[in-house]
């Protein structure tokens, strides 16, 4: 569904992505694991066109999308949930959701504010509250909801568990599983192995801008050596 082949990207002169290849299949939760600074967020930004890839290909639903502008990528059904959340602080929750709204997509049940509140019940009570006056966990729910309003076919979720209390992380895991159950494809970047192992179907490990391990979650669970080498700090 989403295929990266030998993707390279730079920040100024710094060569950050040095050939990332990765394949997300329809309906799977694919976890992108890696240490701080490994290039997880940059991979997602490169897919979205927020950091223009310098070479290599990005294919989504069989179409090349590298070089498109972020809004065009989003309109093709790729949703992006940034690591820093980037909630519009002065807009209310309802307005934040409105910004994310896009036309319904063929063959998908359209998302609405009510349906988002079904996935994240705590949002329902605060639709009128400014995004800036929410807790970290609530903001995380809001950003995911905001992206869902665009009726994406695949969601890029960048470290949704970062900085959240364990209870909220559990809630996030539930939400990810609920989305998967509805058939959503997800590329999830994580450092939290515990969280990743609970929701992932497949995994890729990135280090210094390149994929160093790939396989199914079951394989990774069995491969203690790889986890030790790439994931523990």
């Amino acid at each position: 569904m989403l295929r990266l082949s030998d993707l390279h990207a730079h920040y100024g002169r710094a060569h950050i992505l040095q050939g990332v290849s990765l394949h997300v299949r329809p309906g799977e939760v694919h976890v992108l694991l890696g240490r701080n600074g490994a290039g997880k967020s940059t991979t997602m930004k490169a897919i979205m066109g927020l950091v223009p890839p310098t070479s290599g290909g990005v294919e989504f639903l069989g179409q090349p999308i590298a070089g498109l502008e972020p809004f065009e990528v989003a309109r093709r059904g790729l949703g992006y949930v940034p690591e820093e959340r980037r909630v519009f602080a002065e807009l209310t929750v309802a307005e934040n959701l409105e910004v994310g709204r896009q036309k319904p997509r063929e063959g998908l049940a359209p998302w609405s504010v009510e349906r988002i509140c079904g996935v994240f019940p705590s949002l329902a009570a605060m639709l009128k509250r400014p995004g800036g006056r929410m807790s970290g966990g609530e903001q995380q729910m809001l950003t995911i909801g905001r992206t869902l309003m665009g009726n994406p076919r695949l969601v890029l979720l960048d470290e949704p568990s970062e900085g959240l209390a364990p209870v909220i992380v559990d809630r996030m895991a539930d939400a990810v599983r609920a989305l998967r159950a509805e058939g959503m494809s997800i590329l999830l970047s994580e450092q939290n192995w515990h969280f990743a192992s609970r929701v992932g179907d497949a995994a890729s490990i990135i280090e210094k801008g390149a994929i160093v391990w790939r396989g199914s979650m079951a394989e990774l669970l069995a491969d203690e050596a790889a986890r030790g080498r790439y994931l523990t700090v």
Binding site: M48, L50, E69, P70, F71, V73, A74, R75, Y80, P82, R86, F88, A89, E90, L91, E95, N96, E98, V99, G100, Q102, R146, T147, G150
Partner: protein, 608 residues
């Protein structure tokens, strides 16, 4: 007495209303596109001219009059869309300074277009039908039309508020003001949003202009006069904040209304002083916020400064010898041009000093040039001081002004610093313009002639050549001296510079003052070569001239300002000789340069 105060407050509200209309458009455009649109004042002026044409040509009556006002606003909105589509759309990613310059190019083009269509004379429009009279409030007279204007201001504020709160367009505008990259990543085509915002903002400026027609005459100075005030409102309110613009417009309107009762001489100065004070206490304005994350750099990134190559030295040496010999053979007119070029070189070198190695921006560098010129002229005029003494004193005056203004300016960065430097220049300009007893106001100071020995043109040419190139040379030495190294270090990274013990704020401050002092010397020399000084010496266009020279030459090359000054002065001179519409041509050239050569002339040479 009480009636008087009420009427004064009401007229403050009336000016606040039109100020708000203009500033609302400017602030919304900035919020979404991050472009500081100098041409916004030109849209206001266009609105006034169009309003005048419609009001004088349409039949009398309520419907034609108000219909004409709305039509003028819509036409100006469409002009804004054209400018956005043809120009700004291509430069959204360019450094802010270039964007500002490009929009200033539009100012010049619109000025000449208006001159060409409507002529140079002030135009008086008809009064609004049915609103000629006045109302009496506690026995004091207040024009009925101004009352309507206040009502329109309030109505537009409410409509905008509804637009921004209740419509998808408004929600997207507010979201994009906070974080436009995120809005794009959510699938919103920003081009449409930008164009829409430009239409709205320009139409508001046009509306404000058309509404002025029954109040005051329409003229070619309206654009820069209003843009300076609108910048103040927008910066005081917080860039991008609509309620901020409303609040600041109210504040400023009242200040002008009552300021005129208390300090009639310094109403203009007062406005800019308030802005400086607000920016120092709240650097992002009353209701503004620090921009999210990705702060764009103000000047283009360029390779580090390098000393001249041996070949470069040879060329420079030959050029210098030729310049020294030139007064022996050149005719008077050519010598005048040569003198002007020398002055331009020094002026550009001082601005380059703070922009290139210093990494600061100044949109008001003419202030120091003008202060030097006025210091010299005032010494001659009031104390009958000799030229030699005046030339010595002028850099001190300008340097002290640089210390005073610079103290504030070096504390800000980006657009805010640019706006503050402009505000200080406007303070200097308004002082010269309003303090008629001391400075002669608009008529300037005449009879600032050099002593007999310095009257012959060749002597003047040699004098300015030696002083200006000497000054430029000293600045160049400073760039490569330890002081310059520290200056460049803080430009590249404040953190790293502080880590090795550089007091970055202080070093920027001194650099600012040194540049101001040398600019003052250029100004004083200019005063003596022209024999007079005028407030225009410190006006916005002269500051822009300096910026043009520096950017033409390329910011990060030491020879850049010299080449830029020669090219720009030569161009200016030629254009003025060959065409009446030299402003439009100059504006078009500025626009073309920003579009096609964003690295400047020197950058061009470096690449080839």
């Amino acid at each position: 007495m009480l009636g008087n105060l009420v009427v004064q407050a009401l007229s403050g509200l009336a000016s606040a209303a039109s100020l708000f209309l203009v500033s609302a458009g400017l602030t919304v455009i900035f919020g979404v596109t991050r472009i500081v649109n100098f041409a916004h004042g030109s849209f206001y002026m266009l609105g006034a001219y169009l309003g005048w044409t419609l009001a004088t040509n349409l039949p009398r009556g309520h419907v034609p009059f108000w219909g004409g006002v709305v039509l003028a606003a819509v036409i100006v909105g469409l002009v804004g869309v054209v400018v956005e589509l043809l120009l700004l759309r291509r430069i959204y990613k360019a450094p802010e300074l270039f964007q500002l310059l490009a929009t200033f190019g539009v100012v010049l083009v619109v000025q000449d277009a208006a001159l060409w269509i409507w002529g140079p004379q002030d135009l008086l429009g008809p009064r609004a039908p049915g609103l000629r009279g006045a109302v009496y409030i506690l026995d004091s007279r207040f024009p009925l039309y101004d009352l309507v204007l206040i009502g329109i201001g309030i109505a537009v504020f409410l409509l905008l508020w509804l637009l921004f709160q209740r419509t998808r367009f408004g929600i997207l505008v507010r979201a994009a003001t906070a974080d436009r990259e995120m809005v794009g990543a959510l699938g919103v085509n920003q081009r449409l949003l930008f164009t829409g915002v430009f239409f709205l903002g320009s139409a508001l400026a046009g509306l404000a202009g058309a509404l002025q027609v029954p109040r005051e005459s329409v003229n070619l100075q309206m654009d820069l006069a209003i843009i300076a005030e609108a910048f103040v409102v927008v910066v005081v309110g917080g860039l991008g904040s609509l309620p901020g613009a409303a609040l600041a417009a109210l504040l400023l309107g009242q200040m002008q209304a009552f300021g005129i009762l208390v300090f009639p001489q310094i109403t203009l100065v007062l406005v800019f002083l308030v802005m400086a004070a607000v920016l120092v206490v709240r650097p992002y304005g009353l209701l503004g916020r620090a921009p999210a994350g990705h702060a764009a750099s103000l000047a283009p990134v360029e390779p580090p400064i390098a000393p001249l190559s041996p070949r470069g030295r040879l060329v420079a040496g030959v050029a210098l010898v030729l310049a020294l010999l030139a007064p022996l053979v050149l005719a008077d007119y050519a010598l005048v041009v040569m003198t002007e070029i020398c002055l331009a070189i020094l002026f550009a070198a001082t601005l380059h000093f703070i922009m290139g190695p210093g990494g600061m921006a100044s949109f008001g560098h003419a202030a120091y040039f003008g202060i030097g010129a006025y210091a010299a002229a005032l010494l001659v005029k009031h104390l009958a001081a000799p030229m030699e003494l005046s030339l010595l004193a002028a850099p001190f005056a300008a340097g002290i002004a640089g210390l005073a203004f610079g103290w504030f300016c070096v504390r800000l960065s980006g657009v805010y610093a640019a706006m503050l430097t402009m505000a200080f220049a406007q303070i200097a300009w308004s002082t010269a313009f309003q303090w008629v007893d001391f400075t002669g106001g608009d008529n300037g100071i005449l009879g600032v002639w050099p002593p007999a020995w310095a009257v012959p043109k060749p002597v003047q040419a040699w004098g300015t050549l030696i002083l200006c190139l000497g000054g430029a040379f000293l600045l160049r030495r400073a760039i490569f001296a330890p002081f310059g190294a520290a200056l460049r270090a803080q430009r590249d990274s404040v953190l790293r510079a502080e880590a090795i013990g550089i007091d970055t704020m202080r070093i920027r401050w001194f650099a600012f003052a040194i540049a101001a002092a040398f600019a003052g010397l250029a100004g004083a020399l200019f005063a003596f070569t022209k024999g007079s000084v005028f407030p225009t010496y410190m006006a916005i266009p002269r500051s822009i001239d300096g910026l043009m020279m520096v950017l033409l030459g390329g910011v990060q090359t030491v020879t850049g300002p010299i080449l830029g000054a020669i090219a720009y002065t030569g161009l200016h001179e030629q254009l003025m000789r060959v065409t009446e519409l030299w402003r439009a041509v100059l504006g078009a050239i500025i626009i073309a340069l920003v579009l096609f050569f964003p690295r400047g002339l020197a950058g061009l040479g470096a690449r080839s």
